[in-house]
Structures are given as C-alpha cells and as structure tokens.
C-alpha cells in the first residue's frame, strides 16, 4: 500500500490532456459555409443559475429566428455556452477559452458584474467584443470592447427617485439592501439622489445574499416608521414582503430591477401587490416586434419572457445585424455597435454611448392582481429616460 509509484495513478489522469488536445483540435476556425460561432458566458450553475437560464432562453430564441431567416448572410449562427457559476475566476477561464480555442468575435455575458470585470482585460487584449448583461456602474469604464445591453444600476435609480419623491410623496425612506456590489451601489445611489431631492434616509442596513428571515429587521422598520422601504435584492425580497405583511408593516415597498421575476410573485403571493420598481421592459407588448417576440417565446417555452430574456434577445439581434453588416472582424463589429442608434428592440429603442453603455428607456412598474404592470405616469417615453441617462 505504501509502495506507490507512477503506474498506480488512475488512467483518468492520462486521459485529461488527451481530451484537452482533442478538444483543441476539434474546433478549427470556421470557413465560409460553416456556422458563425459566438460565445456566451453565463452562470449556469450555482446560486445565480436561474438568471443564466433566463438569458439563455432569450439567446436561443433569437438565434433560432435568425437561423430560420437565412442566418448571417447564409451562414447559421451558433452559440458556444460556457458556465462561470458567477465566479470571476471561471469567467476569465471561459473567456480565454472562447477567444483562443473557438475564436469567437463576440461574447455575450456574463451576468455577474464581477465576472464581466474579470473578462474585460482578457477581451481587451484578445480583441473580443463583450456584450454584458450586467448592472454594475463599474462596467461603464471596463474597456473599449465592453458593451452592455442592460442599463447601469445608477440609471434605474435616476428614474426611480423622481417618481418616489414627486408622484408618491415619499419623504422618509428606509433602505434594506442585499450586501453585494449590486445592493451596495443601489443603496449608495439612492441615498445620494434621494437626499439631493430633500428626503431623509431613516434606516439603512445590509443583509447577506440568500437571507430568508427578515423578522428582526422588520421589527426595527416598524419602529423607524418610514414612508417607504427600498429593498434592492434578488428573490430574498419575496420572503421580506411576505414577512413584512405578516408582521403588519404597513408602508410602501419599493424594489429594484431583479424584482421582476415570476418566482418572486409566486413566492410572495399577495404580499407583492403594490410594490414599485424600475425596469427596462414593459409588461404589455411595447411594440409589434415585442408582440411577436412574446408569442414566439410562449410557443417555445410555454411562459412569458423575462426581462433578461428580452435583453438577451435584443443583444443577439443587435449583434446579428452587426455581423450581417460588417462580418466577423471584432474591430468592425465594435465600430458597428458604437454606431448603433435607436435599434428597434423588444425592450425599446436601443443605442450605445461612447462607453459602450446602453441608452434605452426605463419605466416604473408595479404589481396589480398578481401581474407586473407598467405605471402610466412613471415614464416610458424614450425622451424622458434619455434625459435621465444624460444626467448620469
């Protein structure tokens, strides 16, 4: 048992490099009749896997539609998916692999901001265009090749605060944020904006991602008695709302982007009624394009599209049209993206600013009778949202 030597190493060790080299051999750069490959790095496992799944659904639908419509100038579009489990290390690995082995000109994703920031230097160096679906304000300055289809977290707050102050009349605001980069930056942004508008923040505390029990915070909130509670969080907010109603906390509840998630409605039930939140995708079909998208999506997946699916769908279509126009050279794709102006997307007219950040309308929404609905006076016009963007 103690006499061991190299021959006792399991054969699997020998197989690994072979597998690896076989993999390298197998994926040669494409010829003209072969499919055009682009990459996607998403959290397909781990705690954030559900978002990866939504995005995937949007991507797959867009790709299917492009391919039934003659593909990219006759060549089919295919997506090579890589999982990053929302871990920057794995995102960097996946980015290098996609750029180096698969020679993709464009990578969609990732969803986690930290992953995008880890991808960015590699993408810059290897000249791969990244179309992130991530929210952190830091991505704005991540690099020349880095675009994003989702508005920056700050622009949501820019749209939300005037609504809260002027339409709802909130003077005292409590903030209960998920303690990660998203929650922290939302809390900081709203403090700045809200206080600038003359309001006061009467309570601000963080909680770890995944928290399911908010009863102690709720007891405190009852004492602090704010006009509204802003909860930038993921599905944790469902538990919060449920418990807040159970414990008779009767203020207005304000959420952030991840709130529009059918799971949250299912989890929170009637407790989700009346929650106000900013979003980038309307509930009713915004335009004819969106109407078609919703029908096709329902056909394919048997459900309503999610806002991330819609963003991903737009992203693929914008990339697809760039590919059609300029081919697969990343630098030319990049230039085409910067030149994109008022692209008709299912999430509204879409442009990119000089940082690669998206310019698109942000609307204020709420929940009525268990449905996400647009608030009529909350914006929705491109002009107003654009105004907010430029103020950013």
């Amino acid at each position: 048992m103690r006499r061991n030597s190299w021959h006792s190493i399991p054969p699997v060790l020998a197989i690994l490099p072979i597998l690896l080299f076989w993999g390298c051999q197998r994926t040669k750069p494409s010829r003209s009749e072969e499919p055009i490959r682009i990459g996607a790095i998403l959290p397909l496992t781990g705690e954030s896997a559900r978002y990866g799944q939504y995005i995937r659904e949007g991507i797959d639908l867009a790709v299917a539609e492009i391919n039934t419509d003659h593909g990219i100038n006759g060549r089919p579009l295919t997506i090579i998916y890589e999982d990053d489990a929302a871990q920057p290390r794995l995102a960097a690995s996946a980015m290098t692999k996609l750029a180096e082995i698969d020679h993709v000109p464009v990578v969609i994703g990732s969803w986690a901001s930290g992953c995008v920031l880890a991808e960015a230097p590699i993408a810059e160096k290897m000249k791969v265009v990244v179309m992130a679906i991530a929210i952190s304000p830091k991505i704005t300055a991540a690099g020349d090749y880095i675009f994003r289809i989702q508005p920056s977290a700050t622009s949501y707050i820019n749209a939300l605060v005037p609504y809260l102050v002027h339409k709802v009349g909130v003077r005292k605001l409590a903030v209960l944020y998920v303690n990660n980069d998203f929650g922290l930056s939302q809390a900081a942004d709203i403090r700045e904006q809200f206080e600038a508008q003359g309001g006061t923040i009467v309570f601000a505390k963080g909680f770890p991602s995944g928290t399911a029990d908010f009863r102690t915070e709720i007891a405190e909130l009852r004492k602090a008695n704010p006009d509204a509670v802003f909860v930038p969080a993921y599905t944790e907010i469902a538990s919060f709302l449920k418990q807040a109603r159970e414990m008779g906390l009767s203020t207005r509840f304000v959420a952030s982007v991840p709130f529009e998630n059918p799971d949250i409605l299912k989890l929170a039930g009637s407790a989700a009624e009346g929650v106000i939140y900013p979003y980038h995708y309307c509930s009713g079909p915004a335009n004819d394009l969106d109407k078609g998208f919703r029908i096709e999506f329902a056909k394919r997946y048997g459900k309503e599209p999610d806002g991330f699916a819609a963003l991903a769908y737009d992203a693929v279509r914008i990339i697809g049209s760039s590919l059609k126009a300029v081919g697969t050279d990343p630098d030319r794709i990049k230039a085409a993206l910067y030149a994109t102006h008022d692209f008709p997307g299912v999430t509204g007219k879409t442009s990119f600013d000089s940082n690669g950040d998206v310019i698109k309308p942000i609307i204020i929404k709420t929940v009525v009778d268990g449905q996400f609905v647009d608030l009529p006076s909350g914006g929705g016009t491109s002009a107003q949202a654009l105004g907010n963007q430029q103020a950013d």
Partner: protein, 293 residues
C-alpha cells in the same frame, strides 16, 4: 420590539437546536465531522416540496416523507461511505473529506433535479397570532411546539434510558463497547437515522416557514456545529442550549449591528469558545485531550 426580537431569536433557536441535537447524536457517537448532514437537511426540504407541491400530498404526510427521506439518506451515507471507512480504520480526516465530497455531489444533484431557484412550500401571506405584542405565524408557532415537545423528550430519553447509555458508551470508548457485546454498526446506523431525521424535521419546518434553495444546507450545518461546540460536545443538552444561545445572539446581531456581520460574529463566538472554554457551556469536565498526555 425587544419581545419580538426575543421571540424571533427563540424560533430560530428552536430550529438550530433541533439541527444541532441531530448533529450531536452523529458526531458524539461516530466522531465524524459529517458535513453531508447539510445535504440530508436540503434533501428533506426538497422531498417535502416534491410531495406537497408536485404530488399534492397532505401537509403532515409530506413532512413525514421529508423526515423519512433524511433518515434514509443519512443511513445510506453511513452504509455506503462511512462504515467501510470505519472498518478500514481510516482517520476522521478521511471521513471529513469524504463527507465534503458527498455534500458537493448531493447538493448539485438536488440543483440538477429541482433547479437553483428559491422554492417555498406555502406561498403568500401566512395567518398570524398575536401574543403580548409579539406576532408569530402559525408555522412559527408550530416550530416552537415541535421543538418544545421533541427536544426535552429526546434529551431525557438520551440521558435516562439504556439507549442513551449505549450511545454514550460508544462515544467514550467504541472498542470497549464492542467488546461488551454492543453491535457498534447497529448503533451507528441508529444514530445516523435519528440524527438525520432531526435534521429533516428542522428542514421541513424551516422550509414551510421561509422556503429553501439548494445551497441552504451548509450555513445551517455550520451554525449547528458552532451550537454544538458552544453548548458542549459529549452532552446532549449542550447542543440544545447552544442552539438557543446562537438563535438569540444572531437576532441581537441583526438588531444591533447588521445581518451582514452574522457569520463573522457567529464564528467569532466559536473561536472564543474553542480557545477559552473548549468543553462548552453544559459540560463540567474539561476535554480529555486537554489534560491527558
């Protein structure tokens, strides 16, 4: 306000205590740092979900099913992994690493089968009761009732009956116990079944109250392990006391500081106990390793 905080701490303490007592049963007897206990916890919650939501079983049956599933999984892990290691005389560290492997594999299997998103067993707003200004949901009341019945009964059972004696005997000296004709493997199976069933009970009740996702097991397990050390390894009332203490401390942290510091302070408490009172609250004896040469 204060009463509500105490009540919240108490309800959480009940669940930590259940989990910690189950963990203590296994740890005290087998000395395995059974991380996969967290996976048994998660599995119980998901089976309860499957029975209740998918198969539309009645609530009580679904909970029984969840508890039974945890017990079955615990016993299977013992038979398939730990027992062969024990027979080979492998060290605790081998068991620990195996246990980590089991945990990773099982949790990912659950994620594969059920998806990564949060699930709740009772969507929507729960009916509440009010008592002295304290608001509790019916599920929370059920949690307290179950814990109030199960915990004293179990602790008394373990302290007073032959079974308790056998388990303590095995803990103190497994070799001697075997010489005395105790079927060690049967005792191990029994503690894995009982300990995992307790984890399953805590899991089902917690899932009914606040829902679950595939990753819930590890933090619960770690909290239970801390409760065990703080309360006192080698006793059966120790983990229960430790569980309630931790429940209260965590409620206090959320109130006075912020939930984001809960882990740091919980494990800070662990370190303080490990260094200054490794025998825990409940044990009067110092640990043998400390004094004997």
């Amino acid at each position: 306000m204060l009463l509500q905080l105490l009540a919240n701490g108490l309800v959480n303490g009940c669940m930590i205590a259940l989990m910690a007592l189950g963990y203590a049963l296994i740890y005290n007897t087998t000395r395995i740092f059974h991380v996969a206990h967290g996976a048994a916890y998660t599995a119980a919650a998901y089976l309860c979900y499957l029975l209740l939501i998918v198969f539309k079983w009645p609530l009580l049956l679904a909970v029984v099913g969840g508890v039974a599933a945890a017990a079955l999984l615990g016993v299977t892990m013992e038979l398939a992994v730990y027992a062969p290691l024990y027979r080979r005389g492998a060290s605790d560290l081998i068991s620990l690493i195996s246990s980590l492997g089991l945990y990773v594999a099982l949790v990912n299997l659950i994620a594969l089968l059920f998806g990564n998103e949060t699930k709740v067993l009772r969507p929507g707003v729960e009916k509440t009761c009010r008592l002295l200004g304290v608001i509790l949901t019916r599920i929370q009341v059920a949690e307290v009732v179950v814990a109030a019945v199960l915990l004293p009964l179990l602790v008394l059972f373990l302290k007073r009956t032959l079974w308790g004696k056998i388990i303590r005997g095995v803990r103190d000296n497994p070799v001697l116990a075997e010489v005395l004709g105790i079927d060690l493997m049967a005792v191990r199976i029994a503690v894995f079944a009982a300990g995992s069933a307790l984890a399953g009970m805590a899991a089902c009740l917690t899932a009914l109250d606040v829902g679950m996702d595939p990753q819930v097991g590890m933090p619960v397990l770690l909290t239970a392990a801390v409760a065990l050390i703080v309360g006192g390894v080698g006793t059966f009332e120790g983990p229960v006391i430790g569980g309630f203490l931790l429940g209260l401390i965590q409620s206090l942290i959320v109130w006075k500081i912020s939930a984001q510091w809960t882990d740091v302070i919980t494990f800070g408490v662990l370190i303080v106990f490990l260094v200054f009172r490794p025998e825990g609250i409940a044990s009067r004896r110092r640990r043998l390793e400390e004094s004997a040469a």
